[in-house]
């Protein structure tokens, strides 16, 4: 569990490095507001979270994080172009039924979009499927298939192909090894456990 918490912190630190001070940040799938709380504390960000679940909104409100309960696509449609300095989609894309629609809409309302995800092309995940013949399970995705997370697993190659096909520019990427700490330079789709992208139109 402590290892998981540590991994979460690494993710937050990188995103924190990318966020400009005092910028207006929208977090899609904000959960209980831990990331936004961190960005507000360290970067004086003006944070706003969106989540579907009441308990998550309750967690945000208790932390002093502003949050909106509802569908992220419908939410973004209510905002003009480039309203947010940055939109963050951290560990959310793998849960989306229509990731392209969300990402393109996020690139409309945001000047920049940060996407972070667990790379399902990571060799351990492949080994799970290959040798065990089972849905990958690891410290991040602990559930069985019938508990159904992630709904729509993504790999680094999947994501980069998508960006190329849609003409989305990748301004920064952080590909980390299985420890989610050391940068991964060799065949990241196989050896990177976690990927973070900074995108712009």
């Amino acid at each position: 569990m402590s290892k998981l918490v540590e991994k979460r912190t690494v993710d937050m630190q990188i995103i924190g490095d990318w966020v400009e001070p005092a910028s207006r940040v929208l977090d899609l799938g904000c959960g209980r507001g831990v990331l936004l709380d961190y960005l507000q504390q360290t970067k004086q960000a003006r944070g706003l979270g969106v989540d579907l679940d009441f308990q998550k909104i309750l967690g945000c409100v208790r932390r002093g994080v502003t949050a909106y309960q509802g569908d992220m696509e419908a939410f973004m449609r209510a905002f003009p172009d480039r309203f947010f300095d940055r939109v963050i989609c951290s560990r959310t894309v793998q849960e989306l039924a229509d990731p392209a629609a969300v990402i393109l809409e996020a690139l409309r309302v945001g000047r920049a979009l940060t996407v972070g995800f667990v790379n399902h092309g990571f060799w351990k995940n492949r080994a799970d499927a290959l040798f065990r013949g089972r849905k990958p399970r690891n410290p991040v995705y602990t559930t069985e298939w019938f508990e159904s997370r992630p709904a729509n697993p993504v790999t680094i190659d999947d994501f980069e192909r998508f960006c190329a096909a849609k003409g989305i520019g990748i301004s920064r990427r952080a590909l980390l090894r299985g420890d989610w700490h050391t940068p991964c330079t060799f065949r990241p789709n196989l050896f990177s456990g976690y990927a973070l992208y900074d995108l712009a139109r």
Partner: protein
């Protein structure tokens, strides 16, 4: 009291009760100019307070009541009271609005009939009730009058303004009218713009009152007037506060005691009425009771009871005035757009809607929050799944309590 002592505990203590409270009257001797341009030489507001105003005079939480509510939102007036104030589950020591920390103020609205100046108050020129001579009231008038009360109480700023339905409209108006005075807004189950559907329901209620021959263009003695019309208005309005599901759960098709099931829906043992049944006291005679227009279903009996208790405490002219104030509430029209309406707001907002509310549906509450956000304000939105309709905001919900407590603690 120093700042350290004012820190809120992380775990709320076991909730207690406000206990015995008494209403007070604030008599404003200054002339009051209504939005309509009409004036009153002065006015009275009846109000209650719970808890204590701190040394900085900045821990006041103002509670705004809905159409048929009043200033008595918590505690009891006498040990024999059958029921406490209307939001007693929400306000008190250790409750969502914690009177150990906050100085809670609730006042009857201007135009009301529970002690504040309204159409049933005596007109100093005639000695009789104002009736329709009372100035037209708007939500903004209500808020401006309550601001004078806050000033009178020595409140330096409002820690929060909280209210549901019409109370929620006042909350929004507070944030717009007095941006530096209001630090938090909690509008519940409300709208920034009364919808055509809501206006339509109000109009049916007003017609029921005004078509009652006892209304006499608003000129009726205290205690008299269009009781039938007011009762019908209340019955109809009450339906809009509930939901299909909640009424089905609460009443279903249950009959009031003493009413037999009509044939057709009868159990197999009962039979068709025959000539031999006429005038007899056999169960079939109950059939005749089913073919009357007396109360048969529990839901009818419930609505009649609601109406009966309402006409004994509410003035028909106040009902006309306040529903008109609701109809006129349209922040978009008043400011050009909702974003412009909220442009000056400084308060942080927590808006809560209820999925089964069809009078002020969640979409209308969302619109408030989206406009606040587009205007660059801090506004959170949460939605509670309830089946109880518009009145959900008054019901006991630990989720609602935690949310409000969490927001007030930050």
């Amino acid at each position: 009291m120093n700042d350290a002592e004012e820190d809120l505990p992380s775990a709320p203590p076991e909730p207690g009760e406000v206990g015995l409270v008494e209403p007070h009257d604030f008599v404003c001797p200054q002339p009051f100019r209504f939005e309509s341009g009409q004036t009153l030489p002065g006015f009275t507001l009846r109000y209650e307070t719970y808890g204590h105003l701190n040394a900085a005079h900045d821990n006041a939480v103002l509670i705004c009541h809905a159409l048929s509510g009043d200033h008595h939102c918590a505690g009891i007036h006498a040990l024999t009271d059958p029921k406490p104030g209307w939001w007693n589950n929400f306000i008190g020591p250790g409750k969502a609005v914690d009177t150990n920390h906050f100085f809670v103020v609730c006042a009857n609205v201007l135009g009301g009939c529970q002690g504040s100046s309204g159409p049933s108050s005596p007109n100093p020129h005639t000695g009789r009730p104002f009736g329709l001579a009372f100035p037209f009231v708007t939500i903004r008038d209500m808020v401006r009058a309550h601001k004078l009360l806050c000033d009178h109480l020595g409140v330096s700023s409002l820690y929060a303004v909280v209210g549901g339905s019409m109370g929620g409209m006042q909350v929004l108006q507070w944030g717009i009218e007095y941006p530096t005075f209001v630090r938090r807004m909690i509008p519940l189950a409300t709208t920034a713009r009364e919808s055509a559907q809501a206006i339509a329901f109000n109009e049916v209620g007003r017609q029921a009152i005004m078509q009652d021959p006892e209304w006499h263009h608003g000129d009726y003695p205290k205690g008299g007037g269009p009781r039938v019309g007011l009762a019908i208005a209340r019955m109809m309005a009450h339906i809009t506060y509930l939901s299909d599901e909640s009424m089905d759960l609460k009443f279903g098709r249950r009959k009031t005691a003493g009413v037999a099931t009509p044939p057709g829906a009868a159990t197999p043992s009962s039979r068709k009425p025959s000539a031999a049944d006429a005038g007899s006291t056999t169960p079939a005679s109950g059939t005749s009771a089913a073919y009357t227009f007396d109360v048969q279903f529990e839901v009818e009996s419930y609505l009649r009871h609601q109406a009966e208790s309402f006409i004994n405490r509410f003035d028909a002219n106040s009902y006309l005035y306040i529903t008109r104030a609701l109809d006129h509430f349209d922040l978009t029209a008043a400011h050009g757009s909702l974003e412009q309406a909220f442009a000056g707001v400084e308060a942080a907002t927590l808006s809560v809607a209820f999925t089964s509310d069809w009078l002020f549906p969640s979409a209308q509450n969302r619109e408030i929050v989206l406009a606040l956000l587009r205007a660059g304000k801090r506004a959170s939105y949460a939605e509670l799944s309830t089946n109880l309709g518009h009145d959900s905001f008054l019901l006991e919900s630990e989720e609602l309590y935690s949310l409000v407590r969490g927001f007030l603690t930050r």
